[in-house]
C-alpha cells in the first residue's frame, strides 16, 4: 500500500487531479448543508452577475447558480459512479466468462458485446432514456449500457491469457470449481487494469450524463451541470456565466478524474511489480 502511494505521488499531475477531485467530492458531500433549500428555488432577481451578492450569480429565473453547482456535483458523481459500477460489473461478468470458457460461450457473449459496440453510444443512450422515462435511474441504466463493452473486451483479454497460465491449470487439476477460479484466483490478478479503466470511465459517464441533461433528457427534478449549461445556452451573449461556470465544473471534474486514472495506471501497473 505504501509502495502504491509512493508510485502514485511520483505523477505530479495525478496528485493535482486528486486534489481537485477531493474538492468536488467534498462539495457534493456538504451541498445539502451549504444550500439546504432546493436548488430550483428562486432566490433573487434574474441575471445577477457573479461575484456579487451570490458568488456565481443568478440565472434566468433568479435561481442561485452556486447552489446548482453544488447540487449538480452530487448528481454528476452519483451518476458517474453508479453507472460505472454497473458497467464494470456487467463488463467483468461478460468478459470474464467469455475469456475463461472460450469457444461457443465466447462467441455468443462477444457477438452480443459487438452488437452494443456497433450502435453509436450516445444515440443509443438517448434512445434508452427516451424509451424509459427521463429519471435518474434510467440515465444510470443508459450510461451503463453504453459503457460496458470496452470493459468486457479488456477483461476477456486478461482472462484469456490468465486461463492458460500454469497456476490456473494447477487449480483445475486440484478440482477447484470454475466460479471459484474465476472470482477468487483470476479476478484478483487482473483487477489493476479493471480499476484503471473503470476510473477513466467515470469521466465518460459524467460527460454522457451532462450531454443527456443538456438535451433536456435528464431527470427534471434533479439539478445537474448539463441541465444548467442547456438552460443558459440561449443567453450566452448576455449572461455568459450561466454556461461557463457549470461548463468549467464539468471540465475540471472530468480532467481530474482522467489525471487520477493515469496516476492509478502508473501506480498499479509498473513494469516490475512488487506485491
Amino acid at each position: 500500500m505504501q509502495g502504491f502511494w509512493r508510485r502514485f505521488r511520483r505523477n505530479r499531475a495525478a496528485v493535482f487531479g486528486l486534489f481537485i477531485l477531493v474538492g468536488v467530492v467534498g462539495l457534493a458531500l456538504i451541498a445539502p448543508f451549504l444550500y439546504s433549500q432546493s436548488p430550483f428555488r428562486v432566490v433573487s432577481k434574474p441575471f445577477l452577475p457573479p461575484f456579487g451578492e451570490y458568488i456565481f450569480g443568478t440565472d434566468v429565473l433568479g435561481r442561485d447558480v452556486s447552489a446548482g453547482i453544488a447540487h449538480g456535483a452530487r448528481t454528476s458523481l452519483l451518476i458517474g459512479i453508479l453507472a460505472t459500477v454497473m458497467a464494470v460489473v456487467v463488463g467483468t461478468l461478460v468478459g470474464g466468462f467469455a475469456g475463461y470458457y472460450g469457444g461457443l460461450t465466447d462467441d455468443i457473449l462477444m457477438r452480443i458485446t459487438e452488437f452494443f459496440q456497433t450502435i453509436p453510444s450516445f444515440i443509443f443512450a438517448i434512445v434508452l432514456v427516451a424509451i424509459l422515462k427521463p429519471s435518474i435511474e434510467s440515465i444510470i441504466i443508459a450510461v451503463g449500457a453504453v459503457t460496458w463493452p470496452p470493459i468486457a473486451r479488456l477483461v476477456r483479454g486478461e482472462f484469456m491469457t490468465m486461463r492458460n497460465r500454469e497456476f490456473v491449470q494447477a487449480y483445475l487439476c486440484m478440482g477447484m470449481g470454475d466460479l471459484r477460479i474465476i472470482f477468487r484466483q483470476i479476478l484478483p490478478n487482473s483487477i489493476s487494469p479493471i480499476i484503471v479503466t473503470g476510473s477513466l470511465m467515470v469521466a465518460t459517464a459524467i460527460l454522457i450524463e451532462s450531454a443527456l441533461s443538456f438535451l433536456g433528457l435528464g431527470d427534471p427534478n434533479i439539478m445537474s451541470w448539463g441541465f444548467m449549461v442547456g438552460a443558459g445556452r440561449t443567453f450566452l451573449r448576455s449572461a455568459w456565466w450561466l454556461c461557463a461556470i457549470p461548463g468549467i465544473a464539468i471540465l475540471l471534474t472530468v480532467l481530474a478524474i482522467n489525471l487520477v486514472g493515469e496516476g492509478l495506471n502508473d501506480a498499479l501497473n509498473p513494469r516490475l511489480r512488487h506485491l
Partner: protein
C-alpha cells in the same frame, strides 16, 4: 607467447545500485586463440552473457558499464575505441549469434536481405558477387536450397534453419572471432547436435576463434578446446577441456560437474509385479486450426496418435521427445486440461474421460501435476501456505487442518517454516518448484505428472529437485509420469521410457533397454544427439578430496 586474437584483462563490469551484487563481472581475464573453441560455462546470473556483451560494446549503458580492465583486439582496447570504430569491428571482425534466432532476426526482412545488409554495411562489392558469396556460405552452413532460403522470411524456416541462417550472417565477412551466446539452448537435441558439429567444422575451415557461452556441460564436452568456469562474476577455473572436465580443481566446478546427470541409467528396484494404477488406451488428439466461420483451409496437427501405456504403483514412466512431439498434450489429456478426441484413461477401475467435469472432481486429487515454469505456476497473490492449503480445502478439509498440512509439506520439500507467510516472488526458481511439488502432494495423489519440472532450472538446482522427486516417490509410493526432452534426466529418474515422435510412441521399454539397445531409428538418433555422450563425468568419489 602472445598468440591471442582477443585478450580480456582484469575486466570489471558494474551493476546498478540495488542489484543483488555490485559487479556483474570482477577481475576477469581470458585469452582467445585463433582456431579454438573456448567455452565459458556458468549458471544463470554468473555474468557470462554480460562478459560477452562487454566485448561487443552492447552493455545496457549507463546502468551497466565496464569500469576497469581492458579488452584487447588488434592492439586496440575495445573499451576505449570510438563508437564508429566499434561499429566497423562489430559484424565485420567480431560477430555474435544469440540464443533465440527468431527474435534475433528481423521478422519483416528476408534472410537474403538481412545477410546482404551485413556485407553492404562493411564492404563495397558488386551485387552479383554478394549473392554468390551468400549462396556459397549458405551451402557451407548446410542449408538446403540456398536460393529459396535467401528469399524466405524467418518465420518460414524451422528453428534449426534459422540458427544456421544466423550463423551464416555472422560468418559472411569471415570474422576473426565468433561469440556464441547459448546458441543451441532453444533448439531440440537433434538440431543442437547438428549445429554444434557445424560450429566445430566452420571454426576449422575459417580459422575462427569461437567464444562459446553455455550452461550445459554436455555441450562443453562436445565442442570445447578450453573451458572457463564462471561463478558470481569471477573466473573460478580455466584450462584445457580435458583437464577441466575430467579433473576439475575448483570446488564449484566439481559441484557443477557432479550435478550433471549421467547418461548411464541408474539401477532401480524392479516394479514389474506392482499393481497397475493408470492405463491409457488408444488416446487420440488432433488440434485443428485455421478454419474460420467462412471456411478456409483447416490445418490439422495430430498431437496424440493411438497412445497406449500403463503406469504401475511406484513406477516412474518417462515420456521423452522433442518439442511438438505431443508429450505435454498426452499429460494434459490425462488430467483433462485438454479433452482428448478418443481413447480411454483408466485410473484404477474408473474411466476418467467418460465422466462429466463435476463427476471428475473427486478423482482429480488422485492425479496431480507439477509444471515446468516455476514463475507462472504459482498464483502471485497467494501466500505460500495458502497456495498449498487451497487444494485440500477444495476437497473439504478445514482451513486450520489444511494450513497445518501445508506446514508439514513445506518441511517435506525442504523449505523452512518462515516461507509460509511469504509470496512466491520472494523465492528462487528451485524453491518455487519445491512449492509447486508441495502443492501437488497436498492432495495425497497416487500419480504425479511432472511436465518438464527441471527444464527451467540451473543444473545444480536441477539435481536437487530430481533428488527430491525420487525421494518423495519412494517414500509415498507414488507413481510418476515424467515428461522431459532431456535424456540425461530421464536416465536418472525413469524406470521405463516411452519415446514420442509426432504424437506417436515409437519405442517403449525399460530405461536400460532403451539406452543400451535402442531399436527404433529415431530413438537411436536421439541418443546419438545427447551432447557430451562419450564423456563420463567424474563422480565425487572418484575425485581426490581436499
Amino acid at each position: 607467447m602472445n598468440d591471442f586474437i582477443l585478450e580480456i584483462q582484469n575486466l570489471r563490469v558494474d551493476l546498478p545500485q540495488g542489484a543483488d551484487r555490485a559487479h556483474a563481472v570482477v577481475d576477469f581475464s581470458l585469452g582467445l586463440r585463433r582456431n579454438e573453441i573456448l567455452c565459458v560455462v556458468g549458471e544463470s546470473g554468473s555474468g557470462k552473457s554480460i562478459m560477452a556483451k562487454a566485448i561487443m560494446g552492447l552493455l545496457p549503458e549507463p546502468h551497466v558499464r565496464a569500469s576497469a580492465g581492458r579488452i584487447l583486439f588488434d592492439n586496440e582496447d575495445l573499451l576505449q575505441v570510438s563508437q564508429g570504430k566499434l561499429r566497423q569491428i562489430r559484424g565485420n571482425r567480431i560477430s555474435m549469434i544469440f540464443q533465440e534466432p527468431m527474435t534475433a532476426l528481423n521478422p519483416v526482412m528476408t534472410i537474403g536481405d538481412q545477410v546482404e545488409e551485413v556485407i553492404f554495411t562493411h564492404q563495397d562489392i558488386p551485387r552479383v558477387q554478394r549473392i554468390q558469396r551468400m549462396i556459397d556460405l549458405l551451402k557451407d552452413v548446410r542449408l538446403p536450397d540456398p536460393e529459396r532460403i535467401l528469399s524466405s522470411y524467418p518465420h518460414q524456416l524451422s528453428g534449426g534453419q534459422r540458427q544456421r541462417a544466423m550463423i551464416a550472417m555472422a560468418l559472411i565477412l569471415e570474422p576473426a572471432i565468433l561469440i556464441a551466446d547459448e546458441p543451441t539452448t532453444a533448439l531440440d537435441v537433434t538440431t543442437q547436435a547438428q549445429i554444434l558439429t557445424l560450429i566445430r567444422d566452420l571454426e576449422k575451415e575459417h580459422n575462427t576463434g569461437v567464444l562459446f557461452i553455455t550452461h550445459d556441460f554436455g555441450v562443453v564436452a562436445e565442442i570445447a578446446d578450453r573451458v572457463a568456469v564462471m561463478q558470481h562474476g569471477h573466473l573460478v577455473e580455466f584450462g584445457e577441456a580435458k583437464q577441466v572436465l575430467n579433473d576439475p580443481q575448483h570446488p564449484y566446478t566439481r559441484s557443477l560437474i557432479a550435478a550433471v546427470p549421467s547418461i548411464t541409467p541408474k539401477r532401480r528396484k524392479p516394479i514389474q509385479d506392482h499393481p497397475v494404477v493408470l492405463t491409457v488406451q488408444n488416446l487420440n488428439k488432433t488440434f485443428r486450426s485455421g478454419a474460420g466461420l467462412f471456411g478456409g483451409s483447416a490445418h490439422d496437427v495430430q498431437a496424440a496418435k493411438e497412445v497406449n501405456f500403463v503406469i504401475r504403483r511406484g513406477e516412474t514412466l518417462g515420456i521423452v521427445g522433442e518439442s511438438g512431439s505431443g508429450k505435454s498434450t498426452v499429460a494434459r489429456c490425462l488430467v483433462r486440461l485438454i479433452e482428448a478426441d478418443s481413447g480411454e484413461v483408466n485410473l484404477g477401475d474408473v474411466e476418467l474421460r467418460s465422466l462429466s467435469r463435476r463427476q471428475l472432481r473427486p478423482y482429480r486429487k488422485r492425479i496431480q501435476m507439477v509444471f515446468q515454469d516455476p514463475y507462472g505456476s504459482l498464483n502471485p497473490r497467494r501466500k505460500v501456505a495458502e497456495l498449498i492449503a487451497e487444494g485440500p480445502m477444495v476437497h473439504g478439509m478445514g482451513r486450520k487442518d489444511a494450513l497445518d498440512r501445508a506446514n508439514e509439506l513445506l518441511e517435506l520439500v525442504g523449505l523452512d517454516a518462515h516461507s509460509r507467510e511469504r509470496y512466491p516472488h520472494e523465492f528462487s526458481g528451485g524453491q518455487r518448484q519445491r512449492i509447486g511439488i508441495a502443492r501437488a502432494l497436498a492432495l495425497e495423489p497416487e500419480i504425479l505428472i511432472a511436465d518438464e519440472p527441471v527444464s527451467a532450472l540451473d543444473v545444480s538446482v536441477q539435481a536437487q529437485i530430481l533428488h527430491l522427486l525420487s525421494d518423495i516417490r519412494d517414500r509415498m509410493h507414488l507413481s510418476l509420469l515424467f515428461i522431459t526432452h532431456d535424456l540425461r534426466v530421464a536416465a536418472q529418474v525413469c524406470d521405463n521410457i516411452a519415446v514420442m515422435l509426432n504424437g506417436e510412441i515409437v519405442e517403449h521399454g525399460s530405461t536400460k533397454e532403451i539406452f543400451l539397445n535402442p531399436q527404433n531409428a529415431y530413438t537411436q538418433e536421439l541418443l546419438q544427439a545427447v551432447p557430451g555422450k562419450s564423456w563420463i563425468a567424474p563422480q565425487p568419489q572418484d575425485l581426490p578430496s581436499n
